[in-house]
Structure formats: structure tokens, C-alpha cells
Amino acid sequence: MENIEALREEVLAEVEKAVDLAALEEVRISALGKKGRITGLMKNLGKMDPDQRREFGQTLNLVKDQVAGAIDTRKTALEDAALEARLAGERIDVTLSSRPDETAGRIHPISQTIDEIVSIFGEMGFALAEGPDVEDDFHNFTALNIPPEHPAREMQDTFYLPEQEDGSRLVLRTHTSPVQIRTMQSKTPPIRIIAPGRTYRSDSDMTHTPMFHQVEGLVIDKKTHMGHLKGCLLEFVKTYFELDDVPVRYRPSFFPFTEPSAEMDIGCSRKGGELKIGEGDDWLEILGCGMVHPRVLAACGLDPNEYQGFAFGMGIERIAMLKYGIPDLRTFFDTDLRWLKHYGFVPLDVPNMVRG
């Protein structure tokens, strides 16, 4: 029995001394391997008488368990140390700049604003409509109750294409209103459309560019009146400007294609040179609107005694500038990379009414 105790002490000391996993494995083999010292003693058990064997066997099993446990513990400790040493050697400078992003494109504010507008009016049942940039006189003027030589034609500086063989001249559309005409000509009411697009006027200064964007809205049915016009546009400005409430004002105005006509102002403040929408005692004009003129309905083949509705039009750059604080209209068309990066939108930021 003394031998066993001595062997135990000896093996445990060897386990403690093993400096790496290989040395530890050697210790394990020399003690618990097929030819190991403890294994050897186990083999002797068979030669003993039963009493001796029981007593000796119990002791030996205890020692064997102790040694195996010590080896496991030591093994874990050595493995941990080895891993720590490896990780310490793998240290790198993570303050280095990240890998350059090759997917950092942006959506232009005009596209984003159009998507916002369409998502809001889409929620109110409007469908997107489009029309050509080059228009004929009928759709751009005559059908909209703007006869030739009417002073209203001078309100807009029109770009003309060369005179054609029949003497007529096509124009670059001066507003998105021709889309109203094309829609009413091709569809039977009820109609609810929203028509954003490029528009053109021969004008270029601090606040005008020869090309800009407008959005036109049109509702035609048998019962829509000016109260609905107010309700629809109020919902729009509240949602678009992300405000719970916006003071609005409608002023009587004049457009050849609406009667009665109005301009819509929204409340704002201009204190300290900073424009804030939705508060203060100042007003900001944002769009023109009105009930579709009976002559316009008639020009599209609709009976003004049966159908009625409203139309409105507003400048897209203008409301984008107001919402996003973009100071200069002309920069929209400059393709200055710095501007596109600064004012552009992340492509996954898709406007929708659920997410807001």
C-alpha cells in the first residue's frame, strides 16, 4: 500500500511538472497507458486473494481516478495557455480604416421627393400617370383653356421646336397639366391621378432653371368639391412635412384651367433668417389648385354637367428645398459629386406610408 501512495505522489508531481501537452501525454502514457505504472499494478490484482484484492483494488481505483482527473485539469490549463499565447500573437491594429465601401450610391433628392409624393397620394387612391416631354399646342395650351394670344400664355415662357410643315409648333411642356388632358381623354371617371415629371420654361436666374419638375394631381368624379380639395391637400402637407398640424390658407387666384381657382399657403416663420414650416405668423405659397374648368372637361369629351373635380400642381424642387433645407435650385442639375453625396438618399430608404 505504501507503494501505491508513493506512486500517486510521484505521478501527480510529474503531471504538475509537465510544461506542454506533449509532456503531459508522456506522463499519461507512463502512468495510465497499456504499459503504465498504474495499469501494471491493476494487472497484478488478479493474482491476489479476494480480500486483498478488494482492499487493494479500491485504493488503486481511487488513485487512478485522481491521476486521470489531475491530467485532465492540467490539460485544460495547458490548452488555455496555448490559445492565449496564439491570440496574443495575432493582435492587429483595428484602428486602421475600414475596407472602402463600393456600394455607397445615392438617390437624387428629386427622385426621392417624387417617391414620397406618390406614396402619400397613392395612399389616397391616386395612380401615377405620365406624359411626353414634347407636347402639342392642344394638350399644353388649348385644351387647358389657354387660347392663342391669351395673356396667360405669357405667364409661361415657352420653349418651341421648329415650325412644322402645317405651320404648327410643338412645345416642351410648360407644366404637367397636359397629363390631365391625356388622362381624361383616355379614361372614364372616376379618375385620381398624380403626375410628376420634367417641365420646361425659358427662364434662367437665381430662382429659375430652364428645366424643373412639377407634380400634377387630378380627381374627377361626380361629387368631389372644393372641401375635398382642401382635405386632400391638408393631408398631403401634414404628411409630407411630417408635422401633426400645419396652418394652411387658400387664396382665390387665377389659372385658365380651373374655376374656382386658389393658391395654397402654409404657415411658417422666418425668424432670424431661418425658415420653419408649420409655425409662426408668416405664409409661404406652395401650390396652385382649383376645380377643373368646365371648358377643360368639355375639351376632353367629358360633360361638365355630369363630371367635376379638382386639380393641383406644385414644384417638386421647391418642396424638396423646403423639406430638406437645400438652399439653391440650380445645384439640383449640377451633378456635383459633393452635392449628390450630401443631399442624396440611401437607396434602401424607400418612402412608404407605413414606415413613414
Binding site: P100, L128, L161, L170, R198, H225, F254, F332, T335
Partner: protein, 802 residues
Amino acid sequence: MKFTLNWLKQHLDTDASIEVVAEKLTDIGLEIESVTDRAAALADIRVAYIEEAGQHPDADRLKLCRVNTGDKMIQVVCGAPNARTGLKVALAQPGAIIPIDGSKLKPGKIRGVESQGMMCSTRELCLGEDHDGIIELPEDAEIGAPVAAVLGADDPIIEIGLTPNRPDCTGVRGIARDLAAAGIGTLKADPRQEAVAGSFDSPIGVTISGEIAANNAVPAFYGRYIRGVKNGESPDWLKARLEAIGLRPISALVDITNLVTHDLGRPLHVFDADKLSGDINVRYATNGEKIAALDNKEYELSDSMVVIADQAKALGIGGIIGGEETGCLDETVNVLVECALFDPISIAKTGRKLQINSDARYRFERGVDPQSIGWGMEVATHLITEICGGEVSHVVKAGEVPNPRNAFDLRIDRILELGGVAVEADRAIEILTALGFEVSGSAPVITAVAPTWRPDIIGEADLVEEVLRIVGYDKIPTVALERETSLPVPALSPMQKRVGLTRRVLASRGLYETVTWSFTDSRWAKLFGELKEGLYLANPISSDLDVMRPNALINMIAAAGRNQARGFADLSLFEVGPEFFGDQPGDQRLVAAGLRAGSTTPRSWTGSRRDVDVFDVKADVEALVDALGTNAANLQVNTEGAPAWYHPGRSAALQLGPKNVLGYFGELHPKVLKALGVKGRVVAFELFVENIPMPKKKGTARPALNASSFQSVERDFAFLLDDDVKAEAIVKAARSADRALITDVTIFDLYAGKGIEDGKKSLAFSITLQPTKATLTEEEIEAVSKKVVEAVQKATGGSLRA
């Protein structure tokens, strides 16, 4: 349109404050642009009295004045020649703000003598141009009182933005009438409109030419001779009125015509009768006829323009501007007053052609009240005889004065149906009557005859607007638009959805969206194919934006050059917009165009930076085609198909079949880049979004996923090939070896150079074999591999590398 509050009150009996008037004007559609309170700017300037004006001890031209301010005596040095003892003056004391430059007056010494104030001129107070001397105030002006009231300058100036449908409001009286209808006071009578009896026949007659009469270009022309007038400076009230709205007083006769124009919206003209040769004839000009006008310019006329002529020459351009030669001067004694009607369209055409923006044109092209030809002449007669004296002839008349009586029915319910607000019939009748309509009948339908000064009234909807704007748009309730369905129908068509997706796919690939002009420089556009005549603008804004763009890349390429010049050479841009191929509405197609230049990323320690190349834009196009629902692997890459603005050896057309070209990609031609001012290589793509077929299959279900449960196998091959063998040929050949088993062919290495003979290249690819019934055995794999090698050799003439 400008006027002052007191001017308005000459026509409108009201106690309303300027604030109330201004708000109401905007509410009824006469939008306030500005209200200028001149009294505020003059607040520091007070009436003072020169007790004694003596000589400055050291300066001959300066005076040393003892001035009574009302509460003390001060000493003021003054250089004005009219400073004299006993004069009431406009005095600024130290601390006062001087209107002309906004400066604060400080006490000072002039030539060694202390001066404790400044006596002001008209110009220093921004009340006019006069700077020859100091203002001389009336003797009864109260010392110490603010000068604004004494000068009548406490009268606020109102400017409204007038819409073109309201000719009646081009005169102050029309504005007063609208305000009266809206409950701000009552419209006063205008006694100046009463007829003046003439005492003799005009020695000058008037005729309208047959041609003019046939076209109704001048429906009527009235003249009146006034003899023995005394022209000269206008009275102060008249000068002040004109100066307040920014007009320069000229002489009484001219000022009267300007006053009537702005007061009543009725333009007039006064000829010096002694400069006329015979009777007045209203006729068309002859081509090339010239006239020197009152704006000191000479105009060349054409035969569509109306002139007022005598028997010798044209005297004025009818309804637009008078001639210089027969204008009234101070020495004018006998005059002929013209009061006429002109066709608005004729006026607009002539005015536009000659580019004359006169107060007369402004009113005649909007439509002057035809009845004003009569009362306008009387108002002018009253004013001339009152101010200039003279003896009045009978009125000579030519033509006929129209008396339009346009009657329209108004269904009272229509106000509610169209306007959304119920208005009682009595209220509607009251409003229309106050606006000058002759109303008859009663609810449910009334009839209203539009007043002659409202040519804009053409139907029931106009009557509804008249009632609504006076009732107030704020009375219209705000009503939510009814929903047709509880959830909205989709706002976008499949094609419109595709366009939105196109933008977001490209932006998420690292391209920046831009929006550039739809027009471009024809010198650039010519590099992108033949330019149709019909695409040139007849009136371009500038010579470098003179044609509709035939290609969406043009402006973007130029923009790339501008960004390079700013120091930004690494660019990825795209635009989704129109390009124009014909001159009819609809001759445009929607293109997603993009370009990349410079390097893929900024410089980085990671070493990932490299120059962009054709395969970047090829990837852009393929990703887009895939996203839009067509498998890009099915496209034909036609290496001969790209147009001339691409590098002939580094570009291709992407096609679905021989006819449907979906787009192009490639390196841009160096000549194009040079012409558009771009340095280095630029790669670009164009994709015709509408040419990508819409899925034929209806519904949203996708084909079932057929994922094999057996392991796939990859095998690599390397071939030595002639340089001109296309990778596409190898991929096709390899795939054709076993279409069922080979699911993918990927080229993973391309090498030419050392170790490879000239004119050859080494190309390596791997094939993926995907069994579906059982795991492949080595023999089966070998068999397929052998077929691949044979197929590639046969198709390309290349040899397998050991």
C-alpha cells in the same frame, strides 16, 4: 399694381385700418405683395422753424441758422440756397435715422461752427428726386409735429399681385369695388364721370380705316378738343400720388393721363393739337413705317400693328405708346384727348413683337371696360379743365361702343356642389350685385348679367367663384377625400415599379443618381448619331443647350469632366431619364444610363483600389437586367453591336434575339471623351428599360426549387487558345458537353505573357456537375470531363494544358 391707402379711400368710404384692408385684399384674391409704411421711416424727422438764417462766419455759401424745434432753440449750419428766415423745415436732430442711407445723424462742426441738426431735402427723405434745396413745409405746419403727416407721406403704399383675369382691378376704383362687396366700406360715387357739355365742334375729326373696322381691332375711338389750356407742373396732390407709386411727374397733361390709367384702369392719350396735320385716322401701319415713341426709342412697325395717325404720319402705336413728336410740352395750348378701345389680342401681339411694356398695353391686353370710353373721356375733361383750364369741344366719335350683356344662370345649389359650402340665395345675390352684376330671378336659379368691366366671367363656375371668394375660402369646410376602397389600389403600373427599382438597384451598386438637362449642346449631340432638325429648339436658352438630347449619356459625360476639374476623378453616376429620337409627342424613350471613371474606391491600405473597367459596367447592366426579371445569362453579347460613341474593341450590345437591343456597355470612345472635356478612360452603359420584356406569366408564384440531395462536383480545365477566341464560345462549348449534368461554367483564370507564346492565351475554367439521381462515380466524372475537353477543342481549336 400699386396704390396708397388714402388713394383707395377716395373711392371707398371706410374706417378700416391698413391691416384689415391688406388682409381682406388677399382673402378676396387680390394678393398683397407688400405694404410700405413710409411714416415709420420718417418717424425721427420733425417740423422746425428757422427763426433766423444768418451768414456762416467762414463760408460764403453756408448759412448759420437759429432753429426752433418746439422745445428748444438749436444752431444748424445749412448749405441749401433756400434756407431762409421764417421757413418751416423738416429737421433731423442728432440720433435721427436719415432715410436715404439709414445713417444715424451725429452732431458735428462744419467749418469750425457747431451744427446740432440737419434740414432735409426731398431726396434725403426718399420722397422724391429733388435735391436742389431743403423741403419747404406749409406755414401752418405745427412745429415739433412729425413731417410724415404734414407731407402726406404717412399714407402706406400697397402693392398687389394682379392675376391676368382682372382688368377691372388695374385701377384703384375696381379694387375699391371688390373691397366694398367684401364688406370693407362702401363705394363712393365718382362725380368726375358726369358728362361735360362741349361748347364747340372739334376742328379735328376722327375716322377708323375700313380694314381696322373689319377686324374689329379698334371698335371705337373718341376725341375731344380742348383749347386754351395752360400746361405746367401738376398740383402737389397729383405729383404726390404718382410719386407714391413710383411714377415721375412730367407735366399736368401727361400726369392726368397717368392718373386716370392707374385710378380707373382707363388709359388715355393727349396730343398737342397744334402739331397735328388734319384729321385723326386709325389705321394699320405700313411695313417698315417708323415712329419715335415717348420712351425715346424708335420702333419699326409692320402691317399688323395699329397706329393712330393724322393725315401726314403715325402719331402713336395704338393702345401701347404715344409718339414723341406730338406729345404735350409746357408750352402746349390746344390739345386733343384720345379715349379709345383696342382689341386685346391685337395689343398683346404688337406689344410682344415690339417688346414694349407700357401701362396702357398692360390694361388693354387684359381688356378695358368698353363703357369706359365714355366716362373716361369725361373724367379726363374734368381733370384737365380743373388743373389746366381751357374750353371744351363736343366729343367726336368713330366706331361703335360694344355693350356686352353676358347673362349666365347660377343654380344656387351649384355653390354647394362645386364649392362645398352652402350659401343662401339672398347672400349670393347681394354679393353679385355689389360686384356690379345685374341679378334677376330667385332660388333655385338666378340669372346674372356680368358687368362690362368683367370680361373674365364666362359661365356658371365663374359666378360660383365670385360668390365664394367674397364669402371667403376659409368658410369652405375641410373634407377628407373619400376612399373608393378600404385599401388603396396600387399607384404604380408594373413598368413604373420597374423604373423605381432601376434607380434603387443602381444606387445600391454604388452609383450616384443625377438629373441633367433634357437638352444639350448640338456640337456634342452630333457625336451621338445624326441629329434631326426637329429636335433643335427654336428659342434655346443658350447656344450650348440648343437641342433635345438624343442620348442620356451626353450631359453626364460633360458632368464627369466638371467633377474631374474640381478634383473628383473617381466617379460613378447614373441617370434614369428620357432621350429623344423624333419630333413628335412620345418620340422619346426611357433610358437608364450610367458611367464609371477613375478608380473603384479611394486609396486604401487594404490594396483593394483598382481602375474601373468594362466589366464593372457589364456587371451593373447584368445586375439590373436580373433585378428587372430577365435572366442576364440569357442575353447575347453582340460585340459588333455597340454604337460609334463606344470603343470599338471594348464594347457590346446586349440583345434578346437579333432585334431586341436592351442596351449597350463598354468603354467610351476617346474622341467623344476629348470633345466633352473628360480625361482618362470612362466606361458606361445604357439600358432601355422599356425593352426588357415584362414577364408573360401572370401571378406571383415562382417555379419550384429543385435542390438535389446529391453532392455536386467541380472539375478544373486550362486551355491554350488563340487570342481572339471568345470566352463566351468556351463557356457555351463546355456547357453543351452535357446540358443536364453541367449546371455552371466559371472562368477563373486568364493569362497571357511570359511562358505563353505570342498570339495565344491561357484560359482556365471550372465546371460544376450536379447529379440528381445518384452520387457521381469517378468514371462518370471522367466521361463528362472528356466530353468537355472534346467540345471545347472542337469549338475553339485550343489545346488542353497539362
